[in-house]
Subunit: 253 residues, 2 copies
């Protein structure tokens, strides 16, 4: 039985806790948060603590806290030869270098409190300061997911940046479209099959080959008509993305 | 039995043909294209024609051709009291006003030649010049899809513009991420679960509420670090979308 302590009470901490609960070979023995009120997702009150000095002895300590406080949390926790990892996409591994065995356990997925996620599909990006620690992490990760990757700190930063493009920015394009639908008395759900298919397509086609639309066709009539339908801010986004598509696909010299 | 003639040989024409084939109450009696070579997707050579003057008598004529040639094709076809529709997102219905019974049959989906699509889920946007023609179109559309919408020409133009945002632009963000992965020796498939979940999330949450990331949190450290990792063109896209997120979510005054 591998004993686990989770530090944090955000979306990642919550989803990790719920996923760990289902694993027979893993036992969450404690969850820490400065404010115990935010630990309501931990059913058993005996597992909750808001006192960092009360941390028990575990095999794995998962710091699922905001990037800015990883270093400060690490300062407060005593080393005990267990494995200490953080879950950040952008922070380097050595934020935890005070611990003899340390690493990173970065789940590359978007988590919302109320939306369950199939953890078996979540890519887990691992990094560790020694082969042995990596092996430990790999064992634990492979109980949870079928998608394990070894990724160094620099690659992880690159992935995190990519995640901003394919999640944050993409979701914002959905938001702009939803607002536009509303203004034209159209239900947003009319766009959902297209959104789903756009995401599904790149599992069989590279996105470069899946590109379609007026920018790719250099269809100036449609582009001009579209620009007339947009406000100034939307126009900027339309123009910059159209230019970028044309540049990448060699439609403009 | 409803007799159908398809005009065109592109992605939409191909998918419509394949979908119509499966319907017992619909019979594709002819497919026209100027260049017969492009009609190889029509198994029975007797159904193919490249001579517009040879068009048979059908109940429904579907013009699945490029926007620019809809008018010109319509000129070449004789009216015969059947229903004539085009499949364009941006062209007004009256491009076909020379026909007594005319309308629009716009499937709001992205089609690629080699990727099958579940047509039952494809939103079909219908418009017609009379209640009777609309009823006919509705009957046919409901054999093919569970997602029928009545949409006027102006709304359809709005939808087409939205499709550029949620399909073309989104796919381009995927492409930029794929290139970035490649440069960092990361497999693009590591991002696929995130892409899929981002698209799935907005079926249960409005995209406005699903927004996460450094722009929304106004996390200037991460934003600055990201900008340093990008080339000039990528930087422009990052900045303009970050600004737009912050403006819409009231993070900037």
């Amino acid at each position: 039985m591998i004993k686990v302590i989770i530090i944090g009470a955000g979306n990642v901490a919550t989803h990790l806790y719920q996923t760990f609960l289902k694993e027979k070979e893993l036992e969450v023995i404690q969850v820490y948060n400065r404010n115990e009120k935010h630990l309501h997702f931990v059913k058993d009150p005996d597992l909750r603590t808001s006192n960092i000095k009360n941390l028990k002895k575990a095999d794995l300590y998962l710091l699922a806290v905001r990037d800015e406080v990883i270093g400060e949390m690490a300062e407060k926790i005593k080393d005990n030869k267990a494995v200490f990892v953080h879950c950040s996409g952008s922070e380097p591994m050595d934020r935890l270098s005070k611990f003899e065995n340390h690493g990173v356990f970065y789940p590359l997925q978007t988590f919302s409190k109320d939306k369950p996620v199939n953890f078996k599909e979540v890519p887990l990006c691992l990094e560790a300061n020694s082969a042995e620690t990596l092996k430990h992490l790999r064992e634990i990760a492979s109980m949870l997911s079928d998608n394990i990757f070894e990724v160094n700190s620099e690659q992880r930063r690159a992935l995190h940046l990519c995640a901003v493009f394919v999640n944050n920015f993409t979701n914002h394009l959905y938001t702009l479209a939803a607002e536009y639908c509303k203004r034209n008395e159209l239900p947003f759900k009319i766009l959902q099959p297209l959104i789903k298919e756009t995401a599904a397509k790149i599992e069989t086609l590279p996105p470069y080959s899946a590109q379609t639309g007026p920018a790719l066709r250099n269809d100036q009539n449609t582009i001009t008509a579209h620009l007339k339908m947009l406000d100034e801010d939307q126009k900027k986004i339309y123009t910059i993305l159209t230019d970028s598509i044309q540049k990448l696909h060699g439609k403009k010299l």
